[in-house]
Amino acid sequence: MSRKPKIAFYWCAGCGGCEESVIDMAEELLSVAEKADIVFWPIALDTRFEDVEALNDGDIDATFINGAIRLDEHVRVVQMLRRKSKRIIAHGTCAHLGGIIGLANLFDSRQLLECACRQVPGMDDPSAPLPETDPGDGQEGPTLAALLPEVKPLDRVVAVDAYIPGCPPTPETMAQAITDVIHGRLPEPGMVFAHRTALCRQCPRLDSKPDKIEITRFRRLYETHWDPEVCFLPQGLLCMGPVTRGGCDARCIRANMPCRGCFGPTERMNDFGSGAMALIASMMAGEDEATLARLVNSIADPTGLIYRYSLAASILGQGPGR
């Protein structure tokens, strides 16, 4: 009898949503557990780091790692998992591109901590010491994982064999990726489990998208109603569909909300933000400087829009330590 494949799931700086994308496989997860040994998966199984340490190098066929790299501890754990695994698959947008938490790279890590521990209203002592990562010799308190100077996508820390984009990935994509591993079809290096082309291709509103879009003012979601059948862009509402990789089944658009780019850049782009900026610039209707300045100013938060999910993967957003 042939050996059952071994798989593992781990999270770094994630939210648990990628774990849900596995649990949402529902009955299919049961068949995965029959056909493969899940050797590590903290949200569901009682295996510990020491159990993973005890495995031989290369013992795990594929490890799916979600979440971005935020703490020094994440680096140690993913390096260990890299040694133990034949394939490492970046699972979800944070592992792929840094995700929303990559927006933290707009600040240094001390600013982040000072805000949470001293500046938010309701703190009892605004001058209290920040959590110590190393309490020092003779102190009884335990050490605590430290924040790295910046958030990184997984492939900045270990070699990644394949990527599953999406915040969260669809359960169907998860099922496909896991089934491939179980049947010995380990992904080709660099493979991305999603479409090569833009979300617009699968958008239910594609027919209403004009060839040339001219926007005279970018509108904000809170200040306007919009036609639920018509492409967002000619209505002056920014949608990242044209620059975002398809594969999500246009789920936000089906809920009558524009795309925010969680599947990351299409195959032809390497930096989401620059692609998004080019898209925006191409739609601005105006020649003179004053008109263009007014148009630019009508975008509420350009950084949070064009780099919402990918700042940490961008050449611009690698933080103070780059």
């Binding site: 994630g14 648990g16 949200i43 569901a44 009682d46 809920a255």
Partner: protein, 461 residues
């Protein structure tokens, strides 16, 4: 020679945690630490973002309770822009949120905390999980649980965009109305959820409360904590997940405070603790007096058992019956044993299903008018809801262009942070004696926090 025991990572919960227990020379517990090594910095990096993006941005704090963040966020936007949602939008939001609490509580019972009860207590660690649960309760029931969870999540995808991350919330309403066809799906799913919930309670009594080991634990002082309790209540002091006033009761059950969420800063305080990124919340009027129980300390709890303790009852008939059954069995109210969170959670599952059926039948549900546009310039807004794990508050301050200047999040598990630390220490002290430690004992220590269904990504955000 002193000894150190580490449980690393803690398992079957959302997020990163470790338990670090120090034994003295006799092998008894000297100190224990519940550490949360995770931190994202949402409160800082949301500064400068567009306010209307907050419900979809802040929900990425947690993929296990995103709908709660989405709802608290959108309610904070209603307050920020001083705009009320039309009746249909309010129903759609409450329906989504209640359906979410239903399926998320099932996640805990079947995948996370439930294995501690449903799988034999002496089970090896490789059996204490959802797969072990399916063996213990039988494939038929187990698969039905998986199926109903899938259907309810599909319903929320239909209403809000994604089974995981809803996107439909906007200040003054929602982006998409409910069609007549969708109402049919809502009604059918709600009826099926209710049928399942009605069968779930007998299963819990049979496999849980009749199991001598678990029953004894629910009566043991080892797992009991005398604390304050907080939860949202409606005008009649009954539990509501979507709206109401916050009510706090004292360890003896007397009302300690009742206030609208906007007044949270007058009642709650936060402090930093060393060794963890999880801050502790406590009652401002009493102060934080360390990891100690009793009426003098400002330690309080939230989540299912706390909500039941704080409320006068349930707003639906079957849940009310089961509510009475719980307090009859315990013999007092408030109930202080942490393991009763499991029972309380399933009473809420029943309530959520009954409430879904009610909301599905509301005539206004299919009204196409689902959004009012704001007319006022924004400045500050507080939104509240009961997340599955407890009270969740979002507070946004913006400039007049609705760009966020300050964000404050009081997240469910954070309210329980002090109590979780104390629960773990109390269990460790009682169970680890003269240096004798094994997997079963350590799992019982873990049961002391797991019953809360902690969400540590939320708690640290």
């Amino acid at each position: 020679m002193t000894r150190r025991i580490r449980i690393d990572p803690v398992t079957r919960l959302e997020g990163h945690g470790r338990i670090d227990i120090r034994l003295d020379e006799a092998g008894n517990v000297n100190r224990s630490f519940f550490q949360v090594p995770e931190f994202k910095g949402f409160e800082k990096f949301c500064e400068g973002r567009a306010a209307e993006e907050m419900p979809t941005l802040t929900q990425k704090i947690c993929g296990v309770c995103p709908t709660a963040h989405h709802i608290a966020g959108v309610k904070a936007l209603d307050a920020l822009f001083a705009v009320d949602p039309p009746p249909a939008a309010r129903i759609i939001r409450e329906l989504m949120h209640t359906a979410f609490v239903f399926e998320d509580h099932l996640l805990h019972f079947f995948y996370l905390g439930g294995p501690d009860i449903l799988v034999n207590g002496d089970a090896r660690k490789f059996e204490r999980n959802v797969f072990g649960v399916l063996q213990a309760i039988g494939d038929a029931v187990g698969k039905r649980a998986i199926q109903i969870r899938k259907k309810v999540r599909a319903l929320n995808a239909l209403l809000g965009g994604s089974a995981l991350y809803p996107v439909c919330g906007l200040p003054g309403g929602v982006a998409k109305p409910v069609s007549r066809e969708t109402r049919t799906v809502v009604s059918e799913t709600a009826a099926e959820a209710l049928a399942f919930a009605r069968d779930l309670l007998p299963l819990f009594h049979e496999k849980g409360l009749k199991n001598k080991r678990f029953r004894n634990m629910t009566r043991s002082s080892v797992f009991s904590l005398l604390t304050y309790y907080m939860g949202l209540v409606d005008e009649e002091n009954r539990i509501n997940f979507y709206d109401g006033d916050l009510k706090i009761v004292a360890p003896d059950g007397k009302t300690f405070a009742r206030f609208p969420a906007e007044a949270y800063l007058e009642h709650l305080r936060e402090r930093v603790v060393q060794g963890s990124y999880m801050k502790i919340l406590y009652l401002k009027a009493l102060g934080w007096k360390g990891y100690r129980e009793g009426p003098e300390n400002g330690m309080y709890r939230v989540g299912p058992l706390a909500r039941l303790n704080a409320a006068a009852g349930m707003a639906t008939p079957l849940a009310q019956q089961e509510y009475e059954r719980l307090y009859h069995a315990v013999g007092q109210k408030p109930a202080h044993n942490t393991l009763l969170y499991h029972w309380a959670r399933l009473i809420e599952v029943l309530y959520a299903a009954e409430r879904m059926v009610e909301l599905a039948a509301r005539p206004e549900l299919t009204d196409p008018h689902v959004r009012n546009l704001p007319e006022q310039a924004p400045s500050s807004g507080v939104g509240v809801c009961e997340a599955p794990r407890g009270t969740l508050i979002h507070h946004y301050r913006t400039d007049d262009r609705a760009i966020v200047k300050q964000l404050n999040l009081v997240v469910a598990t954070q309210n329980n942070a002090g109590a979780i630390g104390l629960s773990v220490e109390k269990a460790a002290r009682a169970l680890i004696v003269k240096g004798e430690v094994n997997d079963t004992i350590l799992n019982m220590v873990e049961m002391a926090y797991r019953a809360y269904d902690p969400c540590l990504a939320c708690a640290t955000h």
